[in-house]
Amino acid sequence: MADRVIYATYDDDETLKNSARKLVSGGVHISDVFSPFPVHGIDPIIGVKHTRLGIVAFMLGLTGLMLAVVGFKYIMIDDWPMNIGGKPNFSLMENFPAFVPISFEFTVLFAAHGMAIIYLLRNKTLPGMPADNPYPRTTDDRFVMEIRLSENHGLSASEIHSKIKETSVIEIEEKDYVVIK
């Protein structure tokens, strides 16, 4: 059987947070929330893990730094030592102060651009990709919870429905779960 999903719609971020708290304490697992703007404090309620983008940034920065070191070591010291203003040019250490700015620039360039690109890739929101919000009004004034039945083994669909109805919900819809992308 295909996975079924329940979409519960709310009209206010505070109501959404309170309802989410209620549902989670009732044992419901909320897979995702769609909202017109970032709702502060919703992540810990529905149990979203903290982003790992920082680790990615660190690794990208390190990549940029190493590339810069390899680059200027080969280009400016090994392959063709360049005499600029009489600076020592036969060893990396003696000439290192001159290369600090470029090391810094490469680190920042790689970390910043890499982070932006990986963020877009991971979220599948590169320009031109189809939108995956189930409900177009979440880009306007509605807040929607996505509750997949496959992630709520302990509860039946009707139980979840009744639990949602206890909150100040506006609209409930159950349908087959379609992976948009």
Binding site: H40, G41, H50, G54, F58, G85, G86, K87, P97, A98, V100, P101
Partner: protein, 405 residues
């Protein structure tokens, strides 16, 4: 009112002061016959006098910055910032006494075979200036009357603004409303403008003029970078201490995280300015300019580079992750390392210029550091006892209590 200095804290502080005093006395007994003795004592007074004054001044700057930007999150830690800033009184008193002594003794020289040597401020000595056209040409700036007029102005402004901020902060607890908030906003912005000029020009007068022939336009910012970093570090240590003893319950991990970010950022600011200054002189390689760095690298190689590496790499590597900025143990250790590192930075700003190649860190240096640190800590904690640790009625207080990042 709610916070009391515990008897254990008092014992530790007075213990540190006593150990410092004994250490200074041992140093004095051992070194009293040295030719550099007088210079060494005066240098130490300037190092520790300036170092701790700068911490307080940085906190005052941070307070003004929070007011001028109408920042919400920092309201809960406001009293701690005020407490650290309150040391400006003692800092100013120490510096005033030292400057007065140096002015009266023509820069604090020692006479050796009829020569005047070991000045703190050689430009205060007419015998030196007479034969030194470089200093003579800096006349209106490097003269005693000008020095005193601007120094008095700086100190007056710092005290005036500190008193104003503190008074309005306590007044707000009683009155509430937004009138005081907007007044603080205006005064904070005004202080930032004045401080922008004063932080540079005062460091030229008080520190850069030790090496009277040399100058750097980045010097003021460099000193300011270190000042800001040590202030944030001190604020963090006081916060950790108070939280450990059960005060400031409403200061949560997010506040600590944010102060940690400031430490991280200001350490970078300082390192960036250190390197910017160094690289420009290294690249230009003009003898009369580069001598400043040459001298330090030749005579204080280890201290100089170790100081830079510690102040740059330790905060960068250790405080990079989110978890580290929320971990009391890691923060406390890093903060102490940074404070010692930046003390060494101030040491390196002053000692090579005054003591030449004879500078070293011994009983006298450690003793004075402990002595000043004890007085500094006691003064800060004493200010904290005088008002409730959590402000009331600040317009952003509620926002700060719910700070979450």
């Amino acid at each position: 009112m709610e916070f009391q200095i515990s008897s254990k804290a008092k014992k530790t502080i007075f213990g540190a002061i006593a150990v410092g005093l004994i250490s200074v006395i041992i140093g004095v007994v051992v070194h009293i016959d040295d030719e550099q003795f007088k210079t060494r004592i005066l240098s130490n007074l300037l190092i520790d006098g300036f170092y701790f004054f700068a911490i307080a001044l940085g906190a005052l700057f941070f307070l003004a910055l929070q007011y001028a930007t109408e920042t919400g999150w920092s309201v809960a830690i406001k009293r701690v910032v005020e407490g650290v800033a309150s040391y400006v009184y003692v800092g100013i008193a120490v510096l005033l006494a030292l400057f007065a002594f140096l002015t009266l003794t023509k820069g604090g020289y020692t006479e050796v075979d009829g020569h005047h040597l070991g000045h703190i401020y050689s430009w205060m000595d007419p015998q030196i200036v007479e034969h030194d056209t470089i200093i003579a040409n800096k006349a209106p700036f490097l003269t005693k009357p000008f020095f005193w007029v601007v120094t008095a102005l700086y100190f007056a402004v710092y005290i005036l603004f500190y008193r104003g901020f503190r008074k309005r902060s306590l007044q707000e607890d009683v009155e509430g409303g937004t009138k005081i908030h907007y007044k603080n906003y205006v005064k904070g912005a005004l202080f930032l403008v004045l401080f922008g000029y004063f932080s540079s020009t005062s460091s030229w007068h008080w520190l850069m003029s030790i090496d009277a022939h040399w100058f750097s336009t980045l010097f003021g910012w460099y000193v300011f970078g270190g000042m800001w970093c040590t202030s944030m570090t001190t604020i963090m240590l006081v916060l950790l201490y108070l939280k450990k003893h059960g005060y400031l319950q409403q200061v949560n991990d997010s506040h600590i995280h944010d102060v940690g970010k400031w430490i991280f950022a200001t350490s970078f600011l300082w390192s960036y300015l250190f390197f910017s200054q160094f690289m420009l002189y290294w690249y230009a390689n003009i003898p009369e300019e580069v001598i400043y760095f040459d001298f330090r690298i030749e005579n204080y190689k280890f201290t100089y580079w170790a100081m830079f590496m510690v102040n740059f790499i330790v905060p960068m590597v250790v405080l990079m992750s989110r978890e580290a900025k929320r971990n009391t143990g890691i923060l406390a250790v890093v903060c102490l390392i940074i404070l010692l590192g930046h003390w060494t930075d101030v040491y390196m700003l002053i000692t090579p210029g005054t003591m030449g190649e004879f500078g070293c860190i011994g009983f006298i240096e450690v003793g004075f550091l402990l002595l000043f640190a004890g007085v500094f800590t006691f003064f800060i904690l004493n200010t904290l006892t005088k008002a409730p640790l959590m402000p009331k009625n600040h317009p952003y207080l509620d926002e700060s209590k719910h700070h979450e990042i």
